[in-house]
Amino acid sequence: MSLTLRVNPIACVGHGMCAELLPEVIELDRWGYPILTARTVPRPLVDHARRAVRACPTLALLLEQSTGKHR
């Protein structure tokens, strides 16, 4: 079982908190919206990922147990 990150692009308005808190996996595009550089969160970064998810003001960052079912 692994944890994967997903952005809800409708909810995201580009605050950019996630990239501050999890730069290893999230960078921002030229307009300030997150780009995930890896889908799966490496185990040592899971706590940081949880913090980034909690910090998102629009609840647009999702940490999900990967089922392999959805793209």
């Binding site: 809800n8 692009p9 409708i10 995201c12 595009d29 030229r30 307009w31 919206y33 780009i35 959805h70």
Partner: protein, 459 residues
């Protein structure tokens, strides 16, 4: 499929009534099938039943509603709205869901260069309505909707009349409601329709859940294109083996295509899947002037240079292998004297305007891509120090936008832009180095809604 002979005396038993009598011969065996139903007989339900026989709802089910799903799966029918998902599999997943089910027929045809769905709804509404009724029975739906563009008053009235005619005849096992959607490119996306039917705006939603999991009123919802449903109505009557007599084993049946651009006889044609793109142009009486490329799949599709496009089989797999997409079966022939860069730039501008305005990468990325393409097409690439970097900028924007929206809108646009770079490398470089080409002398070819009000000051 064995056909029961018509009983020589007395009224037919219910079982017989639901078998297609011998005189209802399947159209075909190959093409046309759907389009064979146009003309000759009185319009309305009467002519429809004379041609195809009664709706085989009960006879088909024989106490087992899932039989149509088996038939659909065995037929190999795939969605004709653009994505090409196996129809039977979609039906089965909705049928397996819990609670009451909903069927949505998508006739909103967002692609500006497509006419097939409107043709079907205008000329063969009862074949589509048969498909809705059959699909509803098969998945156990208690409500069905037929969605078209809300601006088309005549079509809405025409369909309302057809539904009333069927109600008076006590034909359909479910209530079918005709619904007008706001006229926008993204409103025909399936999650847009579901959100609209739930009382929200007709814009795409974040998924999962997908409509087949949680759709209208939270119920499992089957969304099919209207052409898919019309094929289903024929499969229900004539069987999966009949259906497979046309097309390829891997892509069976026929499909409607809309051919336009520089062809002698533009219009909607029915082809066997696997027909080559060149044969499709020939069906439209061939090119009306020398061609340089075909745009296949509409504005979410791809340009293919004419030599590469000609032998490509019209199937999802065939076009994908050639770097294109079948989409909803749109073929536009681009004359040699048109500027493909300018044509692409105009369409990307249109798609940028048609964003639902929800996702940042689409809201900011598509206008930026449209700006870069317009610069390349009409002014000869980026000015000043960035001179010669336009193509790199376009490629970079494509990469940054792709796959980052809630729906496929940004990806459709980037696929078209990428295909321009691939199909017209010489034109692209010439524009970047030397500025606009003589193709701008011609009026634009690709149709856009509201074209007459558009201010194409750079053209």
């Amino acid at each position: 499929m064995a056909l029961a002979p018509r009983s020589p005396r007395g009224p037919r038993s219910p079982a017989e009534r639901n078998q297609a009598p011998a005189r209802f011969r399947p159209p075909g065996p190959r093409v046309p099938r759907l389009l064979a139903g146009i003309g000759g007989l009185p319009p309305g339900l009467e002519g429809h039943e004379l041609r195809y026989g009664p709706l085989p709802v009960r006879g088909l089910a024989r106490g087992r509603p899932g039989r149509l799903i088996d038939l659909a799966e065995a037929s190999g029918l795939t969605g004709r709205g653009g994505a090409g998902f196996p129809t039977g599999r979609k039906m089965r997943s909705v049928a397996a869901g819990s609670g009451s089910k909903v069927v949505v027929a998508n006739g909103a045809e967002g692609e500006p260069a497509s006419r097939k769905d409107r043709l079907l709804l205008t000329m063969l509404p009862h074949l589509v309505l048969d498909g809705i009724a059959l699909a509803a029975e098969a998945v156990g739906a208690s409500q069905a909707y037929l969605c078209v563009h809300g601006t088309e008053d005549n079509l809405l009235h025409h369909l309302d009349r057809a539904v009333l005619e069927r109600q008076a005849a006590g034909l359909d096992p479910v209530q079918i409601e005709v619904v007008g959607l706001p006229h926008r490119y993204v409103s025909s996306e399936q999650s847009s329709i579901v959100q609209f039917l739930n009382g929200g705006p007709a814009v795409p939603t974040f998924s999962p859940p997908r409509p087949h999991e949680r759709g209208v009123n939270g119920n499992p919802t089957l969304v099919h294109n209207v052409e898919t449903l019309a094929h289903l109505a024929l499969i229900a009557r004539f069987g999966d083996r009949w259906f497979r007599r046309a097309g390829l084993p891997s892509a069976p049946g026929t499909t409607l295509v809309t051919v336009s651009g520089a062809v002698r006889n533009p219009g909607v044609y029915e082809i066997e899947l696997g027909t080559s793109a060149g044969q499709v142009v020939a069906l439209a009486d061939g090119p009306s002037e020398p061609l340089q490329a075909l745009l296949i799949g509409g504005y979410f599709g791809a340009w293919l240079p004419v030599s590469a496009a000609w032998p490509v089989p019209m199937t999802h797999a065939g076009l994908k292998a050639a770097g294109g997409a079948l989409g909803a079966g749109i073929v536009i022939a681009l004359p040699a004297s048109c500027c493909p860069i300018a044509e692409t730039a105009r369409v990307i501008r249109y798609l940028a305007e048609e964003t639902a305005g929800q996702c940042g990468p689409c809201v900011f990325g598509l206008p930026a891509l449209a700006d870069a393409l317009a610069q390349l097409a009409f002014s000869g690439g980026s000015p000043g120090q960035d001179r010669g970097r336009s193509l790199a900028e376009i490629a970079g924007l494509i990469r940054v936008v792709e796959g980052r929206g809630a729906c496929r809108h940004p990806d459709g646009a980037t696929q078209l832009a990428r295909s321009m770079l691939r199909a017209f490398p010489a034109d692209s470089h010439r524009h970047e180095r030397q500025g606009p080409c003589h193709g701008l002398a011609r009026p634009p070819l690709l149709p856009l809604p509201g074209d007459e009000e558009r201010d194409w000051d750079f053209r």
